[in-house]
């Protein structure tokens, strides 16, 4: 009799619990947006069309270091010169630049009174540098992806020289 009562109680509890946990559940809030593909770049270089063809490399950064002896040169209100940015993988090979709208170019100019960067309309990785006044400053680039940096140059910068 006691054994019967015990099993009855156990079964009742098991069924009740299953219903309780199954139906009540825990209220879930807004669903998680699954992670998307990220670009994993170890460096970048910048080409200019000034002496096109062939394009000149005016800046080169790879694995936390900037290649010395290169300077991005522009002049005041230079609308003809076009710069294009290309990324490198960890073996130094050129990566295909992202084409989706989730990855955007972000930059930081040391002194914005010397130069202004303007992307080519509809193109993520090409830009003009309009000099404002003669002198030198710096620039560094990031790839912004949904609010965070997929790529950063850290404390490294490229030198910019603005001529008349």
């Amino acid at each position: 009799m006691k054994t019967k009562t015990f099993f009855h109680r156990t079964i009742i509890f098991t069924i009740t619990t299953t219903i309780f946990l199954g139906i009540t559940g825990c209220k879930k809030d807004n669903p998680i947006i699954p992670p998307e593909d990220h670009i994993e770049a170890a460096g970048l270089f910048i080409l200019t069309n000034k002496h096109n063809p062939p394009a000149d490399t005016v800046a080169y950064y790879f694995k936390d270091s900037v290649k010395n002896g290169l300077t991005i040169t522009t002049s005041i209100n230079d609308a003809e010169q076009l710069f294009s940015l290309h990324f490198l993988d960890e073996n130094g090979k050129t990566l295909t630049s992202p084409t989706d709208n989730d990855h955007t170019l972000n930059w930081e100019i040391g002194d914005t009174s010397f130069v202004k960067l303007q992307q080519v309309s509809g193109e993520q990785w090409r830009f003009h540098l309009f000099g404002k006044k003669e002198g030198n400053t710096t620039v560094k680039f990031f790839i912004l992806h949904e609010g965070h940096n997929d790529f950063t140059m850290g404390n490294n910068t490229f030198p910019i020289s603005v001529a008349q």
Binding site: K2, T5, F6, R9, T10, F13, T14, T16, T17, T18, F20, L21, T24, G25, C26, K27, K28, D29, I32, I33, P34, P35, H38, I39, E40, A41, A42, G43, F62, K63, D64, E90, H145, E146, G147, H148, N149, D150, F151, T152, G154
Partner: protein, 727 residues
Amino acid sequence: MLFKYIFFIFLPFTIFSQEQIKGIIVDENDKPLENVTIKLVEKNFYTVTDTTGTFSFTKIPNGEYTLEVNRLGFQKATVNTKTENTTLLIHLYTVPIEGTGIIVTGTHYNSKLDELYEHSTLSGKKLQKDLGQTLAATLKNETGLAIRSMGPAPARPVLRGLSGDRVTISEDGNKTNDLSASSPDHAVTVEPFTVERIEVVRGPKVLLQTSTTIGGTVNIIRNEIPDILPARITGTVGGSGESANKGYLGSTTLTLPLTIVAPITLRGEVSRRVAENISTPIGVLKNSSMDNLNFSGGGSYIGSWGYAGISGRYFGTDYGIPGGFVGAHPKGVNISLFKQQLNSKFHYHFSDDDFNNLEIEANKTYYRHQEFENSGTVGAEFAVTTHSFSTTFNHNNFGIFNGGTIGVSLDMRDFVVGGFVFTPATVSTSFATFFYETLHWENFDIQFALRYNYDNVIPEKEKPNAKIGSIRERIFHTFSLSTSLLREITPTLFVGANVSKSSRVPTIEELFSEGPHLAAYSYETGNPNLQAEWGIGTEIFSYYKTPEFYGMLTVFYNTLPYYIISRNSGEINYATLLPIYKATGIPAILYGIENQLTWYISSRFTLSSSLSYTVGKITSTHSPLPAIPPLKELIDVKYSYENFSAGISTEIAASQNNIDTFEESTKGYAIAGGYVQYVFNGESILHNITLSIDNIFDTEYRNHLSRLKSIMPEAGRNFRMMYRMFF
């Protein structure tokens, strides 16, 4: 109908009229004590005394029983008695020092080994005195424990140099199911203020919950699903405040018997904690604030056969991870997380003398975690849904065994990620079967436990060509066992040993992670080919206990042929410029010594000390393991007189120069603290006021296990005030 109504009205009184064991609890001045908890150990029944200090247990078979008698501010008493028609008179004495009392949870047996393994039980006045803003801060003075931290909020206990999921944290025996074990920036989802007691369990009993015997279990006891039918409404109201972070907390708990309707007990609690950025001797640690909300409700139907109940819990916290050090975000990261948990439990007492009880538990947890960059955008997201089921059967005398447990458990975990996280979504299943036995033979106390685990980890998407290796389904079969033996040399001196085989399945992050972790400021790479961690633990211990003196000495030596750690590889991820941490399995040893001494100098003065020392080495290179806490000594002098107590303490830590290749060393330090505590009785109410001061001399010191030690020291001088009312 009228008869039925009258029957239910008088049901509780009819039960209480059939007394089998009854008694009166009084203090040293023979004054009756109210609100004393009495546990009938063999049956796992509880009751509390009324205003006249009287208690009774009814409807129990004739025989010999053990009573455990507990009340805040008094030394615990254990009384052996028989069912007879006499009234017991039990004296409780004011606690000269707390922390030596032993409380066994969830099981009905007790042995000298329990006294040793559960040496770190925080309850009563000591718990009230040590309450910190996190579980780890509350436990920081316990022998063998250190704190891993990354700011005040995500602190987690480290036991003998073992961290992560080698230290299981559970509430009422249920794992917390948060992500605090997987990363240093993730908080433990436990509010310490509302707990009844905290136990650090080691030895064979650990295998009832986890296969990592060389670690341990920190068990938080709340009795969220009530297991007693109190004689009246009981509860607590409390608050605390501290100066170093301008933090404050308000809390209330309530236990409500509905005996007038049915033998049902309800329990609820709510607490809110707010703390600003913490002050250190050299300035404010920016972005170290926290804001917690915690509430729960539960109830159970209690009969002479046992009880069945359900409970629900919510814990939410928003906190900051400071920035500013190498690789970190300049202004830090903010984390918002919450956990919802549903629990159910069925506890059935057998009337048979050999069989004690059967427990069936089922739980469901939903954990959600978001990490925000300073701009407010979500950098990383985690959602974990866990279903857990367990059945345990506890017996009394069975063959040569004096008591034991046999059980099975099943955990199913659904892990989803979002944002800038490179660990794949994963479904894991863990099935375990275990048993634990105790026996007493001549002058020996013996405990033995065995556990088998089946673990299956399935990534949502298999990636055979991932950079870290083939991300694929993994299956693990692991066995763990542990045995302890204690020899009574004299009635006051005991010597014993423990040998155990420990296992641990690698975490999802250790297996599959392959990307930056925003708030941890690291680029974490897993290894999908990792095997299960395993090792052999050995321990020799002795303790000496007289009314005037308590001494404990433990020496341990753990050898782990395959120990999984995430080490700073010295490499940089050039996309994010974060240091790369790689999960690897290496041969390692961990050994050390622990010592506890308590000398009751007089009825008013007590001197106690505690020493912890751990050495960790990578066997293959003879180089130190990372994140090993330094030698630490605590010395405490206490004065007690009636309801008043006061103490001063000193914490001394040696410098830590035994460091891994890319780890920073830490200087030694000495800090002082003090407290006064007053416990007094009002009309059916017990009041506890504690005033404390930490780091009296505003000393600049750094925690070796803090990821922030390169930018800021630990908190400066801190005044704490805590008040709690028990009714």
